[in-house]
Amino acid sequence: MTNAEIREEVLEILSDIAPDEDLSNLADETPFREQLELDSMDFLDIVMELRKRHRIQIPEEEYKELASMASTVAYLEPRMRELVRK
């Protein structure tokens, strides 16, 4: 997957987790929490969805990498590079 495709994947997960939010103007460098109403259970949802959809296991100490779209894509890129977007 390219970075753009990874971003699309994350966006899709976010739209499931936060279905009431408008994600069209999401700023990639700004932390999710400053733009969306997300709590710790929502972040665990992101981790769980990445695990379920792409079999990516994210250790707890690395959850902080999922703070913003930019950091999430950068973190996932080496782990999803070989995957093909369905």
Partner: protein, 449 residues
């Protein structure tokens, strides 16, 4: 060591006299229950000032009552994993009226039903909710079971991951704790008083109402949101288990499947639903000029202690008699009895035996059954079945029991209202039966204020 009192003989006699007066008062109160009941202080009398509900045939009391009077069933064809095609009472309330999409995703169906009903009840009661002291509101919701839906879903999903438990949802615990439905109501409405569910099998709707009344009397809260909820149609286990018991209803026409007292009845139609009452002390209700649906005049809960599943008519009759005694009413003073009957072979016969025993000399007591319309709404059944009868105080009509095409002689009650609703004149009292597995019986009596 007890302290020395150093009382004079005169003082001892005075104390003994006083104790005698108190004891005499208690004995007098028990023997003259009815006369004194009416003199109970208003802050110990509990009244219903709001009703919020969703039933398979109506999403508020007016709709639901209209459906009950029109003979409109809420039972439809339904499919659930593993069991396949079956029948159920399915609710169609607008869940997004009081919740966001995210709330729905995070919570449970029982929580969502509770939230809808609680908000509708608050609205119906005409309460100024923003000004209400939320720390003095208690939530008491009856449930038959809770957590099965989520556990079944998780195991189903886990199978797709070869039972690797790292795929088990972090939402499972908050969704399956037994207080979940009441807790979701608290979160939604910002209520910081006590909240919990009452697990009481299919007697739970009445049990929630009783718990709310008791907490108001104890001063634990000033306003109670009390009743019952059921999400049971979303668990395949309940259908499969009733089927294994030979107690799951089947019929080519879904609307005719739930047929308590009929000769051709063949089991239970499982339904979802909920009903939450706003309960207040009579003094508080009057102070705010509230509309009063009726007063909880008496109630009782007892136990068969004889079988896991089979009911015991003797204990059921005792439960009804206890509620009557507490209300200070004779059986012939009850205008409508809302029966529990679920449409099983033996259960209906047993309840009728209990009712014949208590109401043998009550020619003007009429009997009906709500499950014939909506199926068995489990934890919500008691509260929903009571709610559908409350408008009888205004219109003097006893709604019917539908689907009694040929009355089972063993279920014959002279004044059972079948097929069509019946005008019975002024209604002052309604008695509501609700019984459940493990031999739990509950009865509430509501009277006109």
């Amino acid at each position: 060591m007890s302290p020395e009192l150093n009382l004079s003989d005169e003082e001892r006699i005075a104390i003994a006299d006083r104790l005698g007066q108190i004891l005499g008062h208690v004995i007098h109160e028990r023997s003259e229950d009815k006369r004194l009941k009416d003199k109970q202080p208003d802050d110990q009398r509990i009244v219903i000032t709001g009703v919020g509900l969703t039933a398979p045939n109506g999403n508020n009391l007016a709709e639901y009552r209209a459906a009950l009077l029109a003979g409109k069933s809420g039972v439809t064809k339904y499919e659930i994993r593993y069991v396949g095609e079956t029948l159920a009472g399915v609710c169609t309330f607008d869940a997004l009226r009081y919740q966001s999409k995210k709330d729905l995703r995070r919570g449970t169906r029982a929580g969502s039903i509770g939230i809808y009903c609680a908000n509708e009840a608050i609205r119906d009661a005409g309460l100024d909710w923003t000004a209400a002291n939320k720390a003095r509101v208690g939530i008491y919701l009856g449930v038959t079971e809770h957590g099965n839906v989520e556990t079944e879903n998780e195991i189903y999903l886990l199978k797709g991951y070869d039972y690797d438990t790292s795929y088990w949802s972090h939402h499972h615990n908050p969704r399956t704790v037994a207080n979940n439905p009441a807790g979701e109501v608290a979160l939604n409405a910002g209520i910081t008083g006590p909240h919990y569910t009452i697990g009481a099998a299919c007697a739970a709707g009445n049990a929630g109402l009783i718990q709310g009344a008791q907490m108001l009397r104890l001063g634990d809260c000033d306003l109670a949101l009390a009743g019952g909820v059921s999400e049971s149609i979303h668990t395949f286990g309940i259908f499969a288990s009733f089927k294994s018991q030979g107690a799951l209803a089947a019929h080519a026409d879904p609307a005719k499947a739930s047929r308590p007292f009929d000769k051709e009845r063949n089991g239970i139609v499982v339904a979802e639903g909920g009903c939450v009452f706003v309960l207040q002390r009579l003094s508080d209700a009057r102070a705010r000029g509230a509309k009063i649906y009726g007063e909880l005049a008496g109630y009782a809960i007892n136990t068969d202690a004889t079988d896991f599943v089979l009911p015991n008519p003797d204990r059921q009759a005792e439960c009804v008699e206890l509620a009557l005694a507490r209300a200070g009413l004779r059986p012939d003073e009850i205008d409508i009895v809302s029966t529990h009957a679920t449409g099983t072979g033996q259960g209906d016969v047993q309840e009728c035996a209990a009712l014949r025993r208590v109401f043998a000399a009550s020619p003007k007591t009429y009997f009906n059954n709500t499950k014939s319309f909506i199926g068995h709404a489990m934890g919500a059944a008691g509260a929903l079945e009571l709610a559908g009868n409350l408008p009888a105080f205004d219109d003097g009509v006893c709604h019917a029991t539908i689907n009694v095409d040929e009355l089972d002689p063993e279920c014959a009650l002279t004044t059972l209202v079948t097929r069509e609703p019946r005008h019975i004149g002024r209604v002052d009292t309604i008695l509501n039966n609700s019984f459940g597995m493990l031999g739990i019986n509950s009865v509430v009596i509501i009277k006109r204020v």
